[in-house]
């Protein structure tokens, strides 16, 4: 049993939660082989790369996965192929190639020795089997990306006889002998942007929840380490010095001392603050370390170490908007030098 006085350990607060979306455009440049492959897709041409051992890799890579040799010999392969394995996806997820139930497939295109991952449009799992013949369905609008292949479709869906390696025609030629291809196209694609979006539900944990709840009452709270007695603001639930949990709540401030500062001369995107402005470390009275905040209500070039400040709350602000001078005499250096 721990013997912490109950009055000092508030009950576990109700969990705070908020949506958190992480979105980024993943911009990648392409090397010569990937550039040729993705440009080829835009032109409805599938290229592979031949290894020194004579295998044809589709999709192509720039270095042999077996021996790391540089690969540059491009060949054109067929746009039809054989399913080497598959998996039926009854509930498509956001971003996947088809919105209706489909099969994930690995397809070995005619003339290739390796398989390409994509989606297969099919009415149901009973219509899919390993070894079946499928062909590329091109996207109506193509930009030089793997999604230029909209999906694969079953050869029989077009009422055509399944082309097999014995069938004649262009696919037959590709199957028997992948043709050398220069990899050169007009207006080659040299890069891709792969947008990513992940959705989370952010929950801050016990310590930060208590801190945020107190801020809603315009109080700033920290937590004291039971071992070193330091008061952490904002608290994260652990003393990083001692590696143990903090739980004793301590109200700090509202006034504090500027321990150090910098002058910001570059306007941040979407930030409605005129530059230059001052960003400072502020040791709130009673806190064991400084938090940071903006200093206002004083010209930027008059901010100084030791300046006494207090928080300024805006009408609907959920944290102090900035800190302003209190008018008190500056703090003596010895009172905050340990908090620098």
């Amino acid at each position: 049993m721990t013997a912490t006085p109950a009055s000092r350990v508030p009950p576990a607060p109700e969990v705070l939660r908020a949506p958190l979306t992480v979105e980024f455009p993943f911009t990648r440049s392409l090397g010569p082989v990937q550039s040729a492959f993705l440009t080829g897709l835009r032109e409805r041409t599938v290229l592979g790369v031949r290894t020194t051992g004579g295998r044809v890799l589709v999709p192509p890579v720039e270095y042999d996965p077996e021996n790391a040799e540089e690969l540059r010999e491009l060949v054109e392969v067929g746009t039809a192929g054989t399913v080497t394995t598959w998996a039926w996806n009854p509930e498509p997820r956001r971003g996947q190639p088809l919105a209706t139930p489909f099969a994930w497939v690995l397809v070995r295109l005619d003339g290739a020795d390796t398989a390409l991952l994509h989606a297969l449009d099919a009415p149901g799992p009973d219509a899919v089997r390993t070894g079946m013949r499928v062909r590329v369905r091109w996207a109506a609008e193509r930009a030089g990306a793997i999604t230029d292949i909209a999906c694969f479709e079953r050869c029989e869906d077009r009422g055509q006889r399944e082309p097999t390696p014995a069938t004649s025609g262009t696919e037959r030629r590709a199957a028997a002998e992948p043709r050398l291809h220069s990899g050169e196209f007009d207006d080659p694609v040299t890069g891709i942007v792969a947008p990513a979006r992940l959705d989370y539900t952010y929950t801050p944990g016990r310590a930060q929840t208590r801190f945020i709840n107190a801020l809603a009452e315009r109080r700033t709270t920290g937590e004291r380490c039971p071992s070193c007695r330091k008061v952490y603001v904002p608290p994260r639930g652990a003393c990083p010095t001692c590696g143990i949990a903090t739980s004793e709540q301590v109200e700090v401030g509202p006034r504090g001392t500027v321990t150090t500062f910098c002058i910001v001369n570059i306007k941040a995107k979407n930030l409605d603050i005129d530059v230059p402005y001052v960003y400072a470390h502020i040791a709130l009275d009673g806190a064991g370390l400084a938090l940071h905040g903006r200093i206002g209500g004083i010209p930027y070039d008059q901010v100084r170490m030791g300046l006494r400040v207090e928080p300024v709350w805006t009408e609907d602000g959920r944290h102090p908007d900035h800190y302003r001078p209190t008018g008190e005499p500056d703090a003596d250096y010895d009172t905050y030098k340990e908090l620098l």
């Binding site: 394995t85 039926w88 994260r236």
Partner: protein
């Protein structure tokens, strides 16, 4: 080379959601417990290494926050791997082998509940050919499972039996998330059913390593690391034979796993079908006790599940239930990366 052993292991109870606590709040009890088992304090530890992924929490540099739970003052020697903690253990093992430290603390955690782990894991795929299609982790495992079925290596009843054995064994594991038998359920991505897939959950684990006599001081029966190796295969699934795992076999050879039989194996197989591949690659016969803990099918905190396999194997040696145990960890789609460790107890110890 000097001998290095795992001398303590601790893990959280693994749960579907831990929204009331932050990562460091989840981690701290485990760190205290594992240190408490050895009597060591943070300041006594020579090297600290952790494994985790920012993509699970959706926040950059999340491991620096978790580090608050360690106590990093006075300054410590610390490192982090952005993958399963089993690889952090490998780094710590090398550190101890080279004599840079005598003890090491290794920990790992995964809090999957804030996001959708199936979607999150698509971001570890090649960004040119795979990631734009958003093939989720279950889909990729299902492609491998179908390849195994087509090859005659398994079938749905056999996969269901692996699921049942794992969850039944997990009934004795108080930390497991899924304990006891459960229905196989519907297809998630055919041929994999709910029962073939790991639970999504949050959890953490930690081990302490020590070298030579230090290990004997800290533990009655240290789990000596006789060998450890890790290998990788091409990222592209279409280049690999999905029914086999040559990287696991090679890692096992490098770790000395085939020199003498093992009696216990902890395999990091989040999907039932992956156990089929690993058993074959590791040449595990019927006499080997596999995943007595329930394995990743009973609790799969992403980034910690591999370290837990090594910890469970070590714990079996600690308590005398195993004399020679194999532990395996994986990362990446369809067993792309594999790590194998061989652990032994001293024959004359208690």
């Amino acid at each position: 080379m000097r001998d290095v052993a795992i001398v303590a292991f601790s893990q959280t109870d693994h749960v579907r959601g831990s929204e009331e606590i932050s990562e460091v709040e989840m981690l701290m009890p485990v760190l205290h417990d594992v240190l408490g088992r050895t009597g060591l304090r943070t300041g006594d530890i020579g090297f600290t290494c952790s494994g985790s992924s920012d993509y699970l929490a959706g926040r950059a540099f999340s491991f620096t926050m978790a580090l608050d739970g360690v106590g990093a003052w006075p300054p410590i020697a610390e490192s982090h791997v952005e993958t399963d903690g089993a690889w952090a253990l490998y780094e710590a093992w090398v550190e101890l082998l080279t004599g840079e430290a005598d003890t090491a603390l290794v920990y790992a955690w995964g809090k999957s509940s804030p996001g959708s782990v199936r979607d999150v894991l698509t971001r570890q795929l090649d960004p040119y050919y795979l990631a734009p299609l958003w093939p989720d982790s279950v889909a990729l495992a299902a492609l491998q499972a179908q390849a195994l079925v087509d090859a005659g290596e398994t079938d749905e009843p056999a996969l269901a039996a692996i699921a049942a054995r794992s969850r039944t064994d997990a009934a004795d594991n108080p930390h497991a998330q899924l304990r006891g038998a459960r229905a196989q359920g519907d297809y998630v991505v055919r041929p994999l059913r709910t029962g073939d897939c790991p639970p999504v959950g949050d959890g953490a684990a930690a081990v302490v390593l020590a070298a030579g006599d230090r290990a004997r001081e800290l533990c009655d029966r240290p789990a000596w690391i006789r060998g450890m190796d890790h290998r990788i295969e091409p990222h592209s699934l279409g280049v690999r034979d999905l029914t086999d795992s040559p990287s696991t076999r090679l890692a096992a050879e490098g770790a000395g796993a085939f020199e003498r039989p093992v009696d216990t194996a902890e395999l990091h197989a989040p999907f039932t079908s992956q156990e089929v591949v690993l058993r074959k690659a590791l040449r595990l016969g019927g006499s080997v006790r596999i995943n007595a803990s329930g394995g990743a099918l009973a609790a799969n905190p992403v980034m910690a599940a591999g370290l837990i396999r090594i910890g469970e194997a070590a714990a079996a040696v600690h308590r005398g239930a195993s004399d020679r145990a194999l532990a395996h960890a994986t990362s990446g789609p369809c067993l792309q990366q594999n790590l194998v460790a061989v652990l032994e107890g001293e024959p004359h110890a208690r």
